[in-house]
């Protein structure tokens, strides 16, 4: 693929709006994530960054604007100038191609680590058990937990749980990974291991959208940095430059608090 050829953006948002009742959480968010790009989104709590992330895999329905993943609208199908809401089956099929990692890990506590990872490949992609298990073992190796396959989530630390959650998402071979504050619920000493796994993924060329407070990660692993506040994108730029020299007053104020 040459540089001049137009690339379909992995995520494209155009004036995305989202309301919860009378509270408008997203007030027109427009951005673009290219394949292989690692975008970090920062911002104070309540700025809408998590909501935006959840819109990308249709865990939240957007109220206005356009949002597409890999060239296809999220949650709708366009036919001529009419929009048709997708059926549950179609929404699920699209979600299967997008990995998501949550702040609270959300591992399935009644399943072992290995079962957590193979569940969706078996039941959604209908892979054979042996294939799924082989892949799961590889992924556990990748996240440094090769010996934890038979543990239950409550028997391992938070950092380990989050790495399992990443492996579980990767088991579906997603084309896009969404991280919703993946290290915010972790003890400081456990954050590093999770970020290491994420760096590894970034190096391997995974397209990632990461909502985070880890400025170090954003600076080193991020290709772009977005600062959101009050439901809009305040500033967007190259992470190093933006962290060193923020242009906007609100960005300056925020960065001075988190750095």
């Amino acid at each position: 693929m040459t540089a001049t050829e137009p690339v379909t953006p992995m995520v494209k948002a155009e004036a995305v709006h989202k309301r919860f009742g009378r509270l408008e959480v997203l007030k027109g968010v427009s951005l673009q994530v290219d394949p292989g790009e690692v975008m970090c989104i920062i911002g104070p709590s309540g700025s809408g960054k998590s909501t935006f992330l959840r819109c990308i895999n249709h865990l939240e329905k957007i109220d206005a604007g356009r949002l597409s993943v890999d060239g296809e609208l999220v949650g709708y199908r366009q036919d001529g100038d009419k929009l048709y809401e997708l059926r549950e089956r179609e929404v699920a099929a699209k979600r299967a191609e997008i990995g998501m990692v949550f702040q609270q890990f959300n591992l399935f506590p009644h399943m072992t680590v290995l079962q957590n990872i193979i569940e969706a490949p078996l039941k959604v992609k209908r892979e054979s058990r042996s294939d799924a298990v082989v892949r799961a073992r590889d992924l556990l190796e990748l996240v440094g937990l090769a010996d934890k396959g038979d543990s239950y989530p409550r028997q391992i630390s938070g950092g380990q749980q989050q790495r399992v959650a990443i492996a579980r998402a990767l088991a579906m071979r997603p084309k896009l990974m969404l991280f919703d504050e993946p290290t915010s619920a972790l003890d400081p000493e456990l954050v590093g291991d999770v970020l290491d796994v994420m760096r590894k993924l970034a190096r391997e060329g995974m397209t990632m959208v990461v909502v985070t407070h880890e400025m170090g990660f954003a600076r080193e692993a991020g290709d772009s940095l977005v600062f959101m506040d009050g439901g809009v994108i305040v500033e967007r730029g190259q992470p190093r430059e933006m962290i060193r020299d923020p242009q906007h007053e609100r960005t300056k104020a925020f960065l001075s608090k988190v750095l």
Partner: protein, 334 residues
């Protein structure tokens, strides 16, 4: 982790305020091996002794009267405990309990899932069902269904367990048994649906979100992720319902289905030995509920998988552990 760190800061604070005192304790616990064991006179609990004496006395009086008062007529109890009429009645009671709980749990689960459906017609129907069946007495429902069974010949309904009954007893009892079953089962479904719904609601929202994010569909999420976790909340009250059902089945004696209670009623109807025969029924009900309680314990353990770092041992395992420890110690002594 948090306990450790909070203790750490506590030590710091101690050192700040008391100075040498804190360092002494530290050297005590680390330096000269184990610190001296505490030998203090324990708090006396005279209340416990008084209570034990009073309760022991009452218990002794009860047992004494049970054995010496001839009106209990233990001989007749013993005679009737295992007569064929009673045993047959027990089977009917167990059958009614098992089948009506089966209906109750299956239909209840369906109703709960319907109630949580985004489809308003479906959830409204489930709500109405619960409203109706919870709002009328189960006895009325049993009688109603037994009359309905008399009004309509039932073969078209296709209850799979009907034919087995024929081998047991007279043909004409089928509608009554089915009527009793419907009365108990449909009523139970209303209660079970609320239990199942409570269980489903108790599972963290993040679980179904994570499952959905993996591309799983609603019913798959429910079956594989939510319900197995909900079981921990569903099982205890369901055990409760089963035990309650075992006794509620005695209501069917009113429509002449010969369950355990009706069986003993039939016997004392002819020999007028009311008390000993009611004792026979009570003894059997107690035995059956005890067995169910034990079963419930093990089912609960099964669904506690992954909820605790390690499950506590069962009473049985504890007993075995004590036993093997004792054998080992006596073996060593020998």
């Amino acid at each position: 982790m948090t306990a450790k760190s909070s203790r750490g800061t506590g030590d710091l604070a101690d050192q700040g305020t008391t100075g040498t005192g804190a360092t002494e304790t530290v050297s005590d616990s680390t330096g000269n091996g184990a610190p001296e064991e505490i030998r203090a006179i324990p708090v006396r609990h005279p209340g416990r002794w008084i209570a034990a004496v009073i309760i022991g006395l009452l218990l002794a009086m009860l047992v004494h009267s049970l054995f010496t008062n001839p009106n209990w007529q233990w001989g007749i109890v013993k005679q009737n405990l295992t007569t064929s009429t009673v045993i047959h009645g027990i089977w009917v009671t167990l059958e009614l309990t098992a089948l009506s709980m089966l209906i109750g749990v299956a239909l209840g689960a369906i109703l709960a899932i319907m109630r949580l459906s985004p489809n308003p017609v479906v959830s409204g129907a489930a709500w109405t069902y619960v409203w109706f069946f919870r709002g009328t007495p189960v006895l009325v429902q049993i009688i109603f269904w037994s009359f309905l069974a008399a009004l309509y010949p039932f073969p078209s309904l296709g209850i799979p367990f009907g034919p087995e009954w024929v081998t047991f007893d007279a043909n004409k009892l089928i509608p009554l048994f089915v009527g009793a079953l419907l009365g108990l089962g449909l009523n139970e479904a209303a209660y079970m649906s609320e239990i199942v719904r409570a269980g489903i609601l108790s599972v963290d929202q993040g679980q179904s979100e994570a499952a959905q994010a993996l591309g799983m569909r609603r019913l798959l999420v429910l079956r594989r992720i939510v319900l197995p976790q909900a079981m921990r909340v569903i099982v205890p009250p369901t055990g409760n319902e089963t035990i309650s059902m075992l006794k509620t089945t005695s209501l069917v004696s009113i429509i002449a289905v010969v369950d355990l209670l009706k069986a003993v009623q039939n016997i004392y109807g002819s020999n007028y030995k009311y008390i000993p025969l009611l004792l026979v029924a009570s003894i059997w009900y107690l035995i059956m509920t005890s067995v169910l309680s034990v079963a419930q314990y093990y089912i609960e353990r099964h669904y506690a998988r992954g909820s605790a770092r390690a499950l506590p041992p069962t009473p049985f395992q504890r007993l075995r552990a004590v036993w093997s420890r004792r054998r080992r110690s006596t073996g060593a002594a020998l």
